[in-house]
């Protein structure tokens, strides 16, 4: 009897996965532990591992197809064994249950669709409330009509209505900004000529919302609209930190170690969380959970979005450990190789735009965290030290906090603790 391998659940919010590429073909012999295929989830591209020895008898879901969790992907069995394709199936579980719930009875469920022409399916299915290719697009009748009128492809739009329904406002927004942000380059220099004469900024086009963009859109919209954010900022004297960093990097250059400001901030955040543990918490409707470990995540920018890998137990790790781990996680993230376990479970998040010259900003909380730290660039400016105006280096930190969990005073204590640690950075080494 052949073993049917089904689409596994590879992330907390995944309901469908895209079969990016088969690594084995029908007839290949496989053994337990072999990688059979690459599967793109809402968060990352993962490998599909084989748990059986035998022959890959049959592939049910061709590359490019979107497949619901529990739906059969392939069969592995004895050579020559005949396998029937699982019989006609109901549609993908469009309205899948809450993300935390494991789907029961992964009954032979369906290949959602197998686009024959699309080289690499991009599509919007990202969470329990959004859709897979071929699944109905939830769109209000008016929005549908408007989309037709304005030439907006609804499949590229993320719905802000209940259950992810695309409503009028979404189409209007999409019609106003039909292009995704320019990747880079070409920054036209203003020469004083007629603006119109220079043509458009870029070629007008509609780009389907990727899995990741869909997740970002949904989660951050939800965060910004349902979490009562409040914002605190504090200025930190960065001179001691920069000095220590320079010293350490110089001393450890031969060992190939290069610590970033961010590494210190991750470590300092963990320390501050230890001192003000009320910030290391999350809102769960009827209860607030206070976490024992400071699992500090950090935002990594990717070409089409961002992801937040987690440094687990940062409060127990040295700056060096954190640095090494963060580098490895950052690379994996850029290669889309992060495993779900590596980007879920954070209890606090750090977002740093300092390297891009942003002096300060107010990030959106990454749920279910209670707070996120926004890190600006170090600024050289006149400061008052010992009653004298001198040239100093400062760093502005902002904290966006969930007022359901954290009150202003607690947030302030946290930023105070963070400031004091960062201004005495040597303490981070002990």
């Amino acid at each position: 009897m052949a073993n049917i391998i089904e689409m596994p659940k590879l992330s907390d919010t995944m309901t469908v996965g895209t079969l990016v590429k088969w690594l084995k073909k029908e007839g290949d012999s496989v053994k337990s532990g072999d990688m059979l295929a690459e599967v793109e989830t809402d968060k990352a591209t993962m490998e599909l591992e084989c748990f059986f020895d035998g022959t890959l008898l049959k592939i049910f879901s061709p590359a490019g197809s979107q497949v619901a969790i529990g739906a059969p992907l392939c069969a592995v069995g004895k050579p020559g064994e005949v396998v029937e394709a699982p019989a006609g199936q109901p549609a993908a579980p469009a309205a899948a249950p809450a993300s935390k719930e494991e789907p029961k009875a992964p009954a032979p469920a369906p290949v959602v669709t197998a686009p024959t022409h699309a080289p690499a399916p991009v599509a919007a299915s990202v969470s329990e409330q959004s859709r897979a290719v071929g699944e109905r697009i939830k769109i209000s009748p008016l929005a549908k009509k408007l989309a037709d009128e304005k030439g907006v492809d609804p499949s590229t739009v993320t719905g802000s209505g209940p259950g992810g329904r695309i409503v009028r406002a979404d189409i209007e927004a999409a019609a106003k900004n039909p292009k995704p942000a320019a990747k880079s380059g070409g920054g036209a220099t203003f020469t004083g000529g007629a603006i119109g004469a220079k043509g458009p900024v870029q070629i007008e086009r509609a780009v389907p919302v990727s899995t990741m963009r869909g997740v970002i859109a949904k989660r951050l919209l939800e965060s910004k609209t349902t979490i009562p954010h409040f914002y605190l900022e504090i200025e930190v004297d960065a001179e001691p930190l920069l000095a220590l960093r320079e010293q350490l990097n110089k001393g450890l250059a031969d060992a190939g170690v290069k610590l970033s400001v961010n590494d210190f901030i991750l470590k300092a955040s963990a320390e501050a969380l230890r001192k003000v543990p009320d910030v290391n918490a999350s809102w769960h409707g009827t209860e607030i959970r206070y976490h024992a470990a400071a699992n500090v995540s950090f935002a990594v920018a990717l070409p089409d979005g961002l992801i937040t890998p987690v440094v687990f137990n940062a409060h127990e790790k040295s700056v060096f450990q954190i640095s090494t781990e963060a580098k490895s996680l950052g690379k994996k993230a850029k290669d889309k190789k992060l495993q779900p376990a590596e980007f879920t479970g954070g209890t606090f998040c750090v977002s740093n735009l300092g390297m891009m010259g942003i002096p300060k900003f107010l990030p959106i909380i990454n749920p279910p965290n209670a707070a996120i730290l926004g890190v600006g660039t170090t600024v050289t400016k006149p400061v008052v030290k010992n009653g004298q105006i001198v040239v100093g280096q400062t760093l502005t930190l902002t904290l966006s906090a969930d007022h359901r969990v954290v009150d202003g005073a607690v947030g302030a204590q946290f930023l105070g603790a963070l400031k004091s640690v960062l201004e005495t950075p040597a303490l981070l080494l002990v």
Binding site: S140, P141, L142, A143, K145, G161, R165, V167
Partner: protein
Amino acid sequence: MPVITYREAIRAALAEEIARDENVVLMGEEVAQFHGAYKVSEGLLEKFGPDRIVDTPISEAGFIGMGVGASMLGIRPVMELMFWSFYSVAFDQILNNAANVRYMSGGLINCPIVIRGPANGGTNVGATHSHTPENVLANHPGVKVIVPATAADAKGLLKSAIRDNDPCFFLENTILYGEKGEVSDDPELLIPLGVADVKRQGSDLTIVTYGRCVLHSLAAAAILEKEHDISVEVVDLRTIRPLDFDTVLASVKKTHRVLVVEEQKPFASVGSQLAYLIQREAFDELDGPIHRLATIDAPAIYSPPVEVEQLPNPQRVLKAALAALA
């Protein structure tokens, strides 16, 4: 224009029509000597005498049926039901005889009767006295159903109903009887049946409603504007059948979001019918599902503070409006 109560407006309509047409008579329990259980007909006996203002025994099947029979011969009786809730004991007369006689006679017989009285909850009179049968009545082709919300509408619509050649069922509200408004004293100022009235202009949400729920909706609309910056249009249907659906449609096309508010039990209510019509005729205009706020689905509870919650009220309308805008 004079400012009078809803009660006085109905009384004025009755007085004017009784004076105008000798075939108009007012009949019902306690309408004459007692001056009306809710004082609607106060003074009319003294003015018009016992042939025109007739006290009936408590005998709804008998006297409503009698009115139907008299109307077939050209009398224009206005029959007061002390509560519309009592329609159930005269159901056969109202909905078999009045509603059907024109049809079954192949158009030979008319039934120009008006049956009127209060149909509402909210006064802690329990389930037997709190029925709102406009959906049941309007389910019968051949009849007209009117539910006025304001004094001016009550007067103008009742006058139209009395002059109408089809059976007209006019549903008042004991809680509205004391509500005041500007009402014309022009005896020829009629409000035609089947013309809805936009009681408040708005752009974000259409509330389609009628009867006392118009007042709740207006109150909620004011809060929504002040506290949520939401602009609500309130469409008062005024008559359920004929139904001015064009006005509803125009509003839906303007706001794209709809909430129906009604003091009805939800199952197969007037709102159900509206929701069906709206989705069919304005499907591409909808930016969200049609929402509805009705009475909580149980017989009318007696307990005074809880009955307020069972019925639509401004707070419930407010919540429903926000949900409809999600």
